[in-house]
């Protein structure tokens, strides 16, 4: 059995860890509330954006546009949205696993990283990191999303990449976060989704083609921004959960150690008593 002093030392160490995890849980709870609110506030914009793009595409089926067909290059760009900090359970790992499971050849993939964690792992595994905009995820703004969106669109127009994907974590609710990999370019919106918009005949000023080339970049940027805010909410949700289970694990360990400590203490007292008694008896003889 470990000595009393060892058990005590161990217990103190776990107690201070517990304090840290507890504090982190509280912090991420508060952050989650903010992030959740931000994600909810941005929803109307994305719904409308998606609706409009769908209805344009549905209403003008035979438009020829560079944004609607795969580029000349075989390369795929993946915008990976992860976090800059760890201790968030499987949050970052899920993104990495999803990209690994996509079965794409590593050579054909350019990673546009937002968030250190997934970037480091992917770089170690031999993926090519085309750009690193990790600071964007600390305080995501629409402006950041626009800058990144313009960067990937430029690479698409220059023929460096042929397809653009977005890997992020969707925030369903506090406990359910779903990693997702969606295609941004070429735009693929199914015909059924666009059907609703067909009811009214829409006019475009300037022409539908010109409207499309101005709207699609906006669509891409808003998708990226949407991925940012929902990922931040997921990150904090995942961290909250991870820290919650870490705290309860710590509590469990502390109570086991308490038991062991008390048993050791009792053993020590019993032993001491036995020694005193046997000592006294030896004197009496």
């Amino acid at each position: 059995m470990a000595s009393m002093i060892d058990i005590k030392r161990r217990k103190t160490s776990i107690e201070s860890t517990e304090q840290i995890t507890k504090a982190m849980k509280l912090v991420s709870t508060v952050k989650l509330q903010h992030a959740k609110q931000k994600a909810e506030e941005s929803l109307p914009y994305f719904h409308k954006m998606h609706e409009t793009i769908s209805s344009i595409l549905a209403g003008s089926a035979n438009i020829e546009h560079p944004y609607l067909s795969t580029g000349a290059s075989d390369k795929k760009a993946i915008i990976t949205v992860s976090s800059n900090r760890g201790l968030a359970g499987g949050y970052n790992n899920n993104i990495v696993r999803m990209i690994r499971d996509s079965k794409w050849n590593k050579k054909d993939v350019d990673i546009y990283a937002v968030g250190h964690k997934a970037m480091e792992v992917l770089a170690n595994r031999g993926y090519h990191i085309a750009s690193d905009d990790s600071e964007m995820i600390n305080e995501p703004s629409y402006e950041d999303a626009r800058i990144l969106g313009e960067k990937v669109l430029k690479a698409f127009e220059d023929g460096e990449i042929g397809e653009i994907y977005l890997a992020y974590t969707e925030f369903k609710n506090t406990v359910v976060h779903i990693p997702k990999l969606i295609k941004l370019l070429p735009v693929e919106i199914s015909a059924e989704e666009g059907k609703e918009g067909e009811k009214t005949l829409m006019n475009y000023e300037p022409t539908a083609e010109e409207a499309l080339s101005m709207l699609i970049p906006k669509y891409i940027c808003s998708m990226i921004y949407g991925a940012f805010v929902t990922s931040v909410a997921s990150e904090n949700g995942a961290r909250m959960q991870a820290m919650d289970s870490a705290t309860s694990n710590a509590e469990e360990m502390i109570s086991t150690l308490d038991l062991a400590y008390n048993r050791a203490r009792q053993g020590a007292i019993t032993q001491e008593l036995t020694e005193i008694i046997s000592g006294a008896e030896a004197l009496n003889e």
């Binding site: 931000k38 506030e41 409308k48 629409y142 009214t200 006019n203 000023e205 906006k218 921004y225």
Partner: protein, 134 residues
């Protein structure tokens, strides 16, 4: 809904900027300045930097600096999806003056072409903001 009103909704990625029934909306699109009354034909237009004037149901006018985005007119409603839009009280006069000076300087220097286009856009935005807060 009354005969001469339409529902206007202005949304940005960060918030719902404005919601209400209005009798007229004036703004600048890539094709020029337009005024839109209720019962307009369905139309989608791209926004250019300019002042947005909303005439509410009781006749009061509200103005905002609308920089970027697009708008969609449907049967009895109008949606503006704005990327950048500000009420006059949200505009910082000092910042406007600084960005105007910066843009002016860049325009005078005339370096690369890309910079010129950007400086021109910045100049236009600064002018719109300046006009609004006057």
């Amino acid at each position: 809904m009354a005969e001469n009103l339409m529902k206007l909704e202005i949304i940005t990625p960060e918030r719902i900027f404005y919601q209400g029934d209005v009798s007229m909306v004036e703004l600048t699109t890539t094709e020029g300045e337009v005024g839109i009354y209720p019962k307009h034909i369905p139309m989608t237009m791209i926004i250019a930097p300019g002042i947005l004037t909303v005439t509410e149901s009781d006749g009061t006018k509200k103005q905002a600096a609308l920089m970027k985005g697009f708008l969609e007119i449907t049967q009895d409603s109008m949606n503006i999806l704005a990327e950048v839009i500000e009420w006059p009280e949200e505009i910082d006069a000092d910042r406007v003056r600084q960005s105007k000076e910066r843009a002016q300087k860049r325009l005078n220097e005339k370096q690369e072409q890309v910079d010129l286009v950007r400086a021109e856009m910045a100049m236009r935005r600064a002018l719109v903001r300046e006009k609004l807060i006057e």
